[in-house]
Amino acid sequence: MIDGLHMGMTALAASSNFNDYKPSINDFMPPEILFQGTPFAINRIILVRILATIIMLLVLGITAARAKLVPGRWQGAVEWLIDFVRNDIVYQVMGEVRGKRYVPMVTTVFLTLLVFNLCGEIPGFNIAASATITLPLVFAMWCFCQYWIAGVREKGLGRFLRDELFPKGVPWPVYILLAPIQLLELLIIRPFSLTIRLFANMVSGHLILALCLGATQYFLVAVVNKVLAPFGVLTFAAGMFMYLFEILVACLQAYIFAILTTAYINMSYPEVD
């Protein structure tokens, strides 16, 4: 690990080849640095993920342990987040009676993804902890299990499938086409759209941001011929903009993931309560 970092640094410092400043998809498949070859192998992204988890649990855990009846500013902010998830995501989509059961799940999904997504904008981490296909996939599979369980529990497997595959008010020949699509939707499209939306956003965000800042480093600092320095200023401005934009995207994607999770689960419930 140290060797790799060291080599990387010297290579960066010495190189005047633009390719060395370009981000690549290899950033999302970094080499294993601990427990190589075992199921517990850790690479750079997983290290970021573990650190982000520890920090989040510490910060929120201490906040909860010290929570007072009259909240301070920080506690007020955390409470605002909890209220936001409960009222503006869960209760707004499902209503209070149905939603109560899912508040902890959606809170977990939203806050965890928010922190993980924001890791991409934290200096030193520089990559979202959710920037591998697996993490969004695991969260999506949780959602998948929840909406299947909810559907089977509320309607029974037969009625759940009938309602989903043969929606009412459609002329019967259309079912030939519609039923397989609906099944596909239920089994594959929902979880994978959740997964890929989040993952692709994290990947593209990192690539664009790293490209802007890498170009800035190359044109302003690394290259010997400074003719293109103004272009470096431009890429720096773009990098600043992208940085702020990626913060927005990180929050937005956590929100979208949470609200879609809620919506998918809600779809498994009978229409009229």
Partner: protein, 176 residues
């Protein structure tokens, strides 16, 4: 290039690694347990406690207001009874005063009447005493006069008139 020996293809991005699945699951479970078992229940209890306290405070304030209103009503009632009582006392006093005055007047009148009566009685008795005295004196004078008439001769006109004058003078003296 350094470190990275092989350039990976884009498709590799979408193939989950076993260790990645393991770590994602471990972290998801830890995080979920944290939120389910500690973080949210803790904040829920804080929210509940806060709501209870706010409601309790509101109830307490309401009760305090009710009590204050009751006290005010009681106070006003007391004030009005006190006022009534005071006016009653004043009326009583006034009545008593007029009673006392009337009493005094009647007593004075009685006394005055008594005094008048006494005076009248004493005047009457003096008059009676004077009458009795006069009667006695008239008798004496009449006797003397008769003695004189009998004792001296009525010789002359002058003696006669002298006698009459003398008698009259005596009478006058007696009357005095």
């Amino acid at each position: 290039m350094f470190v990275m020996a092989e350039e990976k293809s884009g498709v590799d991005l979408f193939i989950p690694e076993l260790y990645d699945i393991v770590w994602s699951l471990i972290i998801l479970i830890i995080v979920a347990v944290f939120f389910y078992k500690f973080f949210l229940p803790k904040f829920q209890s804080i929210f509940d406690e806060r709501a209870a306290k706010i409601e309790g405070g509101m109830a307490k304030a309401e009760q305090a207001q009710k009590e204050a209103e009751e006290a005010k009503k009681k106070y006003q009632a007391q004030l009005s009874t006190a006022r009534v009582e005071a006016s009653k006392i004043r009326d009583d006093a006034r009545a008593e005063a007029s009673h006392i005055i009337a009493d005094a007047r009647s007593r004075a009148e009685t006394e005055a009447a008594q005094i008048t009566a006494n005076a009248e009685r004493s005047v009457e008795s003096q008059q009676q005493k004077a009458m009795v005295q006069l009667k006695g004196e008239v008798g004496t004078i009449a006797t003397q006069l008769a003695g004189k008439i009998l004792g001296s001769e009525l010789s002359s006109q002058s003696v006669q008139s002298d006698m009459i004058d003398k008698m009259l003078a005596d009478m006058e003296q007696g009357a005095k």
